[in-house]
Amino acid sequence: MNQADVSKLMSQLRIAVRPTKRNLKNPDGPEGRLLKLRKTVTALVKHERIELYYNRADEARGYAELLISNAIRHGDRHKATMELADYWLLEKQLVHKLFKVLVPRYENSNVSYTRMFKAPRDYPGMYYRKSVLELRGNPYPVLTPDNSQNRNLLHNVLLDEARKEFRREKLANLANKLAAETENATASTTATPAQAPVTETQTEQSKQAEEAPKA
């Protein structure tokens, strides 16, 4: 039962975090591990979508998320955050990208800043799992199939039904309206049979005018 460290405040990550770190097999120990992850984070910020082994991607993902969230939280005037960016981004022009492109992109987002997909591995080849790690809102075509137009999805079924019902109702309304008008017309002709012919032609004209929209 250890006390939580209160000297630092961090925002909650929107990704699943493993309880322990992976060591990522490195002869240089923890420092070498961080160097590996720095390379990955740099590549991710630079290319916005990278394909790599699953373990390394999963480890680097948390660091990338925290780097972006710290940049959003403190901005580019905060010395410690600037140091962090300087450490994690090996190519220094990417520091500008972090603060001027990524921060405004994710400022109002309420989902994670990165996405990770499982990728197929080569056969025969290394047996390590592979994955694709990407920043959200990248310029590349999406990797997931777009299923929103699938007719069997519940919301599409419901929308179809709603559309059908709407059409049925509209037709029924139109039919009712027509029936009422024809009744009116017949009633008026029977009630005033001895009127001048001018009025008859008028009624005929009005009838035609009413029939026109139907056609």
Binding site: M1, K8, L9, M10, L13, Y63, H96, V101, N108
Partner: protein, 301 residues
């Protein structure tokens, strides 16, 4: 004009949130602003409420934050523990204190005369969380260093007084065990030195003088700020080995820090839950203190 500008910036930000950026440019705001001009719509976002819980609560009540170790987390247990802690705090005043503060703890002791014992000492360490929170007091009595471990929520504790509220330069003061005895000697009949209300907790930047080796720990490896004379007793081989075990990269290891802390959102939730209770208790304590300032003269003879 001002409102207009605000709307504009807001819509720019909005545009940014959803727009795909096709090329990497360091100055994209101009284009986006030009594109954003025609659609000026008042966006009424969720009104941001001011946080009620003061920011310093995590330092004053660190034991209310659970252990960040994921395997040991249990939301129900943590909540029940918090309720128990508040129940205990209703019974007894557990004041704010830090490592480096000087405390006097009165506790039940079946073997002491009068069944209570009072120990005055400097808090050299705070650890654990929840109901198991504990601290170590140290003093030198009759030329003998004495340390007592108290559990903060132990029901046998009768009274906790803060005689001098202050912090030191380090997070734990175990090096006092190897320091000259005068640095951990405190008078048992010491008077409480009250701080002004609302004043920041002072940091005592005293540098402790160690006695010669052998020591209990390799203090030269721990980057201590509150020790004056480490250099006096170490040789080159110690210096080299101390350099070898340094971990300068740890301050950049974000995930390590994340796994050692409770995220801000969660902290807010926890303190929002206990804030009203703790606040009323604080107010009550203040009122009681004011009452206590007037001491009725004893009627003698």
């Amino acid at each position: 004009m001002n409102i207009n500008v605000r709307i504009l910036t807001k819509s720019v930000a909005q545009q940014y949130a959803f727009k795909r950026i096709v090329t990497f440019s360091t100055k994209p705001t101009q284009q986006a602003a030009a594109a954003a001009v025609p659609q000026q719509q008042e966006v009424t976002g969720p009104t941001v409420r001011k946080p009620i819980v003061p920011a310093h609560y995590r330092f004053v009540y660190p034991e209310f934050l659970p252990d960040p170790k994921v395997e040991w987390r249990n939301a129900v247990r943590e909540k029940l523990e918090r309720l128990d802690m508040i129940d205990r705090r209703r019974q007894i005043e557990l004041p704010e204190f830090y490592v480096g503060s000087i405390l006097a703890v009165t506790s039940s002791d079946p073997h002491a005369a009068g069944k209570t014992s009072r120990f005055v000492g400097i808090c050299i360490h705070r650890e654990r969380c929840g109901l198991r929170a504990r601290f170590i007091l140290r003093n030198v009595i009759d030329h003998q260093g004495i340390e007592v471990v108290y559990e903060l929520y132990d029901p046998t504790i009768q009274k906790v007084e803060v005689l001098r509220l202050e912090k030191r330069l380090d997070d734990s003061l175990f090096y006092l065990r190897d320091a000259l005895p005068e640095f951990s000697t405190f008078d048992e009949n010491m008077e409480a030195e009250p701080l002004e209300e609302g004043a920041p907790v002072p940091i005592n930047d005293i540098k402790v003088v160690l006695r010669p080796r052998p020591w209990l720990e390799r203090w030269e490896r721990q980057n201590l700020l509150g020790v004056a004379n480490i250099e006096q007793y170490i040789k080159d081989k110690h210096r080299k080995s101390a350099e070898k075990v340094q971990k300068p990269w740890e301050k950049y290891d974000l995930m390590k820090q994340y796994r050692a802390t409770i995220p801000e959102e969660e902290q807010k939730e926890i303190f929002a839950e206990v804030h009203t209770e703790l606040h009323t208790l604080e107010l009550q304590r203040k009122r009681n203190k004011r009452k206590r300032t007037f001491v009725k003269p004893k009627h003698l003879a």
